[in-house]
Amino acid sequence: MHTPTDIPSTRVSVIVNGQTLVRQVECRKHLVDFLREDCGLKGSHLGCEHGVCGACTVRLDGQIVRGCLVLAVQADGRQVDTVETTTPSPALRALQDAFIEHNALQCGYCTPGMLMAALDLVERRPDASREQVREWMSGNYCRCTGYQSIVDAVCTVLELQKAGGLKAQEARA
């Protein structure tokens, strides 16, 4: 059997939050460890590290993914967006405000993943019902809030968006 004598690594170039970062990474390293350890971006969290909890949710080429189920080398040449994005959209800002307003976090560990999943929902399913919000967010675990306040916060932003309130916020900012 062939056994690697050292830990194989490779050079990657990833566009993280709009900035191209070139790093030497171990082939085995997943995207969130890469973001946290090699890019200094601690916003994306690791909970279960096998794709169940959703705390590591980030965007890869514009689509939400489990950051722990993607290798850093797979992201080579691609675009990654995290909760630390330097150009937060009005929807992301509104979600952050709504999470605070509704007490949709306690310890905050799940919040970055929640925000990334909710942002995708707000952008892709602007007409989602409360039930659809629950279903969409069911891939993200929270052990503090009991979820009601998180669903409340997301629904508030959906309502705000329908009423045209997100653009107004942008103008204010």
């Binding site: 082939c27 085995r28 096998h50 689509q63």
Partner: protein, 321 residues
């Protein structure tokens, strides 16, 4: 946990991937969408020394319609993502079973990366796609050094995580017969939470012969007379009367070591006009033929009960469409 160390090569073509598989044998493993492999790597359940990433082989992705009108086949490339199947108008039109099943696969973030081929090749008995392609009578296309070969879905799945794919082959596509006139599809599953593995699930197809017009008229009249909402009335009570099913195919997931066809129940359902007695008879046949595995939280008896419930719901749904 963290994955063990491995080397990583991005395959530049299907042939390149085949060469690497031939060269490295059991030490290599294929990375498609990675939504199962990455979890098993992180948990150190698999410890390859080489990961061959085929995710960039765009020629193995995509959904296309082939063949002459009337004999068309829907071909879905192995690297097509779950979410692409979920949102494909072609799939919705020609294989609505797949469209119905897709939202049950984990969660959006996982469906964005997970692939049809990865799921089929992994052959988890709790997965949705294997049951769907068995119910649809699909064909799996495998590529080896010698060229392509085709394996019917029914013989592709050979046991727990075991398939007809040889170690030196790539699963490159799945071909599905398009839905025929009068044919209807229904997918449903029971899980503790949305996105969890199903405790039991059912992919069902059948051809429904229009019920005799007299029965339909009577049904409508009785529905109105009793003051029930007409939608409820047709779904719950009146629709089965007189309707005739044929080509019934019931493929259950999470009940055994592979997708499980319920051929005895299928035969009963197709044996004559549907009525409550026939559905009861199918229920009894189903309970007699199924031998589900118990899991950590559900006994075989509980799974049998769920399977029977799913079948009754599926019959109702097929008739109500």
């Amino acid at each position: 946990m963290k994955s063990p160390a491995f080397d990583y090569i991005r395959a530049s073509s299907p042939q390149h991937a085949l060469q690497l598989l031939a060269q490295h044998g059991d030490d290599a493993c294929l990375l498609a969408g990675g939504q199962t492999l990455m979890a098993t790597l992180n948990m150190r359940l698999s410890q390859p020394t080489l990961v061959v990433d085929i995710g960039g082989l765009t020629q193995l992705a995509g959904i296309t319609l082939h063949g002459r009108p009337g004999e068309e086949t829907l071909r879905i490339g192995a690297l097509t993502r779950h979410v692409e199947i979920e949102e494909s108008p072609l799939v919705a039109l020609h294989a609505p079973l797949m469209t119905q099943a897709a939202p049950h696969i984990a969660h959006r973030a996982i469906r964005n990366l997970g692939t049809l081929g990865g799921t089929l090749a992994y052959a988890d008995p709790a997965a949705e796609w294997p049951a769907c392609v068995v119910a649809l009578g699909g064909t799996l296309v495998l590529l080896g050094e010698q060229g392509e070969r085709r394996v019917p879905a029914a013989s592709f799945f050979q046991g727990l995580f075991a398939t007809a794919r040889r170690d030196d082959e790539l699963l490159i596509a799945c071909e599905l017969p398009v839905i025929a006139p009068g044919q209807r599809h229904h997918f449903s599953e029971l899980a503790r939470r949305h996105g969890d593995y199903a405790i039991a699930g059912l992919a069902a197809c059948a051809t429904v012969q229009a019920q005799p017009s007299s029965a339909r008229v009577n049904a409508q009249v009785s529905g109105q007379a009793s003051g029930q909402a007409s939608g409820q009335a047709s779904g719950q009570v009146t629709a089965p009367l007189g309707a005739q099913l044929s080509d019934v195919r019931l493929a259950f997931l999470s009940l055994g070591d592979r997708p499980v066809r319920a051929t005895a129940a299928e035969a009963v359902l197709a044996a004559g006009p549907l009525n409550p007695a026939r559905i009861d008879e199918a229920d009894a046949a189903l309970r007699a033929e199924l031998q589900p595995f118990a899991d950590l939280t559900h006994s075989a008896a509980a799974k049998t009960q769920m399977a029977a419930t799913l079948m009754r719901r599926a019959v109702k749904a097929l008739l109500a469409q």
